[in-house]
Amino acid sequence: MNDKVIVVGAGLIGTSTAYYLAKSGAHVTLIDAKDIASGTSGACDRAIMIQSKKPGPTLDLAIKSAEIYQDLEKELEVHLEYRKSGGMIIIETAEEMKAMEGMVERQQKAGIDVKLISGEEARVREPALSKNIIGSTWWENDAEVNPLKVSFAFANAARRLGAKVRLGAPVTRLLTENNRVTGVEVRGEMLYADAVVVAMGVWTPMLLKPLGVDVPIIPRLGQILVSERLPPFLHTGILSAAYIASKLNGDPDDETADPYGVGLAIGQTHSGSLLIGGSRQFVGYNNTETNPEVTRKIGETAVRTFPQLANVRIIRAFTGLRPYTPDGMPILGPVDGMDGIYIAAGHEGDGVALAPISGELMAQAVLGEEPEIDIQAFSMSRFKR
């Protein structure tokens, strides 16, 4: 395999794609304007939540990706803080209970045996949960991982396999010849390749626009609070039903929705800090300051759910831009009517969970192998209809 492939973007998806390409023998150059995990992948939480995925093709991807994660530390020879922690979606109201009953039924049909458990059972698993929680889902196969470690491990493993990694190297445009992308320009320097994979997350549309390709990715801001280090406090990854509602009902034009899209997503890192999220807001590319009102709202839902958290100190708040797509599914595959160009982006909040499978599928697509999962459902052309 002598294909020369350029991967633009060194976040979770780009580093994963570079690794699987290098593993298959391609000559890979991984390029990033700044650094590895310097965008969304370095400003997110750590959940590999499978039960929260949209039933359908995305859930199928997530199941396959979770399998890869189980052996990834061994494969990359790096400790990734991977842990099969199990996951819960907690329920506060009868209305949420009804919605979650429907979701659980769909997930069970899709082949994952998520269960609904009572409030008492939920508190056995997480004793710090409030008495007002009336129920929860539970799935033992949800997991967690450190996305920074995953990004660096993929990039370093790709390097060991011969990939070149160029950081601080902004790609200013795609080079084209007739209907073919032939490479990229980096600060006046032309780099040529047989194929270019754009894995620039929220910034993907900017590189494709000059070719007349409109990629419908919109930046969606998420805010997360970080606590001081604590002794083990949480055992599982936890989302609230309100978080799921906000995740699955994203519509930039819906003015009746909570403008901050606040729902609880909480977990404890390997170091002992809690990551307490989150919010979902469409505020463009440049308004990425943390918002005290959002901090307060996230805090309220956290303290309501875990009353002891009122006594925990917050040391930082941060935001990240998530690459939203209109149907909540990532874009994976070639661009119709143009050769030598592929997109792997638009994972919104599913990038951590879907990184390994996305990279593996992209490597197969670029190298002309039959992808192990049909990626037609994730193609750019679905948006034309």
């Binding site: 650094d35 170091s271 307060r296 805090g299 009122a310 917050i314 708040a317």
Partner: protein, 84 residues
């Protein structure tokens, strides 16, 4: 032993910071994401200027290294105070 602790909150040694720079980090966030410097209780208030100076001496781009983004809260604060 020639090594020394630069970030006390996270227990990060000078050798680890130099390793991160060797690995390609050219900014404070770049070092932070590789070895956790400045991620702890003081949020880099103590170590950031030192890491910046180490970077300035090593990377040698002539530019000042990019610093960590200052984020609230200004000092650790109980969540109960935030929601009150």
């Amino acid at each position: 032993m020639n090594d020394m602790i630069i970030c006390r909150c996270e227990g990060v040694f000078l050798s680890e910071i130099l390793g991160a720079i060797e690995d390609g980090a050219d900014s404070v966030p770049g070092v932070k994401k590789r070895v956790r410097v400045g991620m702890g209780y003081c949020q880099g208030r103590v170590c950031q200027p030192i890491v910046r100076d180490i970077l300035g001496g090593r990377v040698g781009t002539g530019k000042n290294p990019v610093l960590q983004r200052a984020q609230p809260p200004v000092r650790p604060v109980r969540l109960g105070e935030i929601v009150r």
